[in-house]
């Protein structure tokens, strides 16, 4: 919902207020010296350095600090967290704000790498992020690996479309299937006769447990 709203507002803003004359399509002026530097003459090295640093920070935050412990407890069992004196409501607001921090940074990196803001800036990076988070099992280290997998597919897709005539949308298809198989983990294990881990996937279950149950007051 907010996706469409943001897109509509931004298209309007770029077209009416921030548009520069010259290019054939609507875009803003260049960001100038705010453009991200090219390390080792390679696009993406600097951006990856930022991402890796933040992943390390997130790991420390979640697994090595009191706040991280409180966040994990709230996610696993809000009632127990409240009983132990934590405030699930405050933690939810806090984690969502931090989530906004990371998402905002992702957008900023995209635009500062490009150097300007095009009026129609459609990306499916956000949806891919959901797959990455689940594939990485909500763990910063796993997320780095999952992001490399999906990022690699995304980087290779245009070349595949040009040389082999395979539509780029197949990336979304594969992503969705990955997500589906992740959700169906139990069945896959049974089919492939892999012995189930002792721990059932608790992290996956929490998502819908919170659905519609209101915030723990």
């Amino acid at each position: 919902m907010l996706n469409s709203l943001a897109a509509f507002v931004l298209i309007g803003l770029v077209n009416d207020i921030f548009r520069i004359q010259g290019p054939t399509f609507a875009r803003t002026a260049d960001v100038g010296n705010a453009k991200l530097p090219l390390w080792f003459d390679q696009d993406g090295i600097f951006q990856m350095a930022i991402a890796l640093t933040l992943a390390a920070l997130a790991y420390v935050l979640i697994y090595r600090t009191t706040l991280g412990f409180e966040i994990r407890t709230t996610g696993a069992n809000p009632s127990a967290a409240r009983y132990a004196g934590m405030s699930p409501r405050r933690l939810t607001v806090l984690t969502l704000s931090m989530c906004g921090l990371f998402a905002g940074l992702a957008g900023a990196i995209e635009i500062l790498s490009l150097g300007y803001y095009p009026a129609v800036f459609g990306t499916t990076i956000g949806f891919a992020g959901i797959t990455v988070a689940l594939l990485g099992r909500a763990n910063p280290i796993g997320i780095v690996l999952a992001a490399l997998l999906l990022g690699g597919m995304r980087a290779g897709a245009p070349a595949m479309q040009i040389t082999a005539d395979i539509p780029i949308e197949i990336i979304d298809l594969i992503q969705g299937l990955i997500l589906l198989f992740l959700a169906a983990e139990v069945v896959i294990r049974r089919l492939l006769r892999i012995r189930a881990e002792r721990v059932t996937p608790g992290e996956l279950q929490t998502v819908s447990r919170s659905y519609g149950q209101g915030t723990a007051a």
Partner: protein
């Protein structure tokens, strides 16, 4: 009444109200409202069917998109096979369009069956499954659409044109001309909503559905087959999502574009919450969103007269793109406002989102 228009500031509000009443009574704004709320209402009916029996179906968007694509392709293939088929007098229906609607419904049911299997038998997380279905639907339809790049089209259903004898009757004539002048899928909503409302609250099936959604264990104890009922409801719910998809490619448009559902599946979910999980209430929600879409178009194409119109066209002249996009964003803004505050705390069926495991089974 005219003096109300001249009150400073408040006058704009009265001018807007006067414009709305005028549009509602003299133009086909009611029909366009019904038209735009159709996919939302159908999607909401799918949501009500699923959630009342305890299954979260966040993937309505994916069901709609798949159905839209399959319906369009089926209609196109049939119309190529029999190009001479004469459109019938009612709704301009051709065999191709009818096959398309049928295919859309079947596609909706098929994807819904996948969701049912994942959530009921596999006991996977229903939100993740729903999200996966959306992503797969976007990917698969986009992939096939680009691969096949369909060039033809089977056309679209025509709107209902009331016969002359009907248009002459005072009130019925107005209703026929200004409310019912829509295509067959839009009209079907007016039939489905009351039927489902009555079935859900006045029939044995409805009682059982609600029981399974609130307390599956209790329902199981008195002999209701929870698993079977959930399967049946989710798959039957796919019919409505399939029809909504058919509306996109066989009634509203005569072509398929990638991602053409444009979040309608999510607005439908908002309508379900708005209507507190009742068919009639969520139809009301859908009408509200449909109305905001229709009025946005009406204001742009036929701007209100007087001060208000001058003020609006002033904005339009200086910020044309912002002006247009603000109206496109209207339904979404409304959805967020409605979800955030107006509805207040709404309580979903108690067992929604939780897979049912029979006692004693693994």
């Amino acid at each position: 009444m005219e003096f109300l228009y001249d009150i400073p500031g408040l006058g704009y509000v009265f001018q807007l109200l006067g414009y709305l009443v005028d549009q509602l009574l003299t133009t086909n704004l009611p029909a366009r409202t019904l038209f735009f709320s159709t996919p939302l209402a159908l999607g909401a009916l799918c949501g009500v069917m699923c959630e009342r029996s305890g299954i979260v179906n966040i993937g309505i968007e994916g069901l709609m998109l798949t159905a839209a694509f399959v319906g369009f392709m089926a209609a196109m293939l049939v119309s190529e096979a029999m190009p001479d088929a004469e459109p019938s007098g009612v709704f301009g229906a051709t065999p191709a369009l009818l096959v398309g609607v049928l295919a859309a419904i079947l596609a909706g049911m098929a994807v819904s069956a996948l969701h049912a299997w994942m959530s009921i038998s596999v006991r996977a997380d229903q939100i993740i499954t729903g999200t996966a279905i959306i992503i797969i639907a976007f990917g698969l339809t986009g992939y096939l659409n680009r691969l096949i790049s369909p060039s033809g089209s089977a056309g679209a259903f025509k709107t209902f044109v009331p016969p002359e004898w009907m248009a002459g009757i005072p009130i019925i004539g107005w209703i026929a001309e200004n409310v019912l002048s829509v295509g067959p899928i839009s009209l079907s909503v007016l039939i489905f909503v009351p039927i489902l409302q009555i079935l859900l609250f006045r029939s044995r099936w409805g009682l059982r559905t609600r029981a399974v959604g609130e307390h599956p264990r209790a329902a199981d104890t008195v002999g209701v087959d929870v698993i079977r009922l959930r399967y049946r409801n989710v798959i039957l719910g796919g019919i409505f999502a399939g029809l909504a998809g058919g509306w996109l490619t066989l009634e509203a448009n005569a072509s398929f574009q990638n991602g053409m559902t444009a979040n309608r599946g999510f607005i439908a979910l908002a309508a379900v919450i708005f209507g507190r999980w009742t068919p009639l209430g969520s139809f009301g929600g859908a009408l509200l969103f449909g109305f905001s879409e229709a009025i946005g178009i009406a204001i742009r194409s036929d701007p209100p007269p007087g001060d208000l119109g001058t003020w609006l066209s002033g904005i339009q002249a200086s910020y044309p793109s912002l002006y247009n996009n603000a109206f496109s964003a209207l339904p979404y803004i409304l959805t967020i406002i409605v979800l955030a505050g107006v509805v207040g705390r709404s309580i979903p069926p108690a067992a929604v989102g939780r897979p049912y495991v029979k006692e004693g089974a693994n």
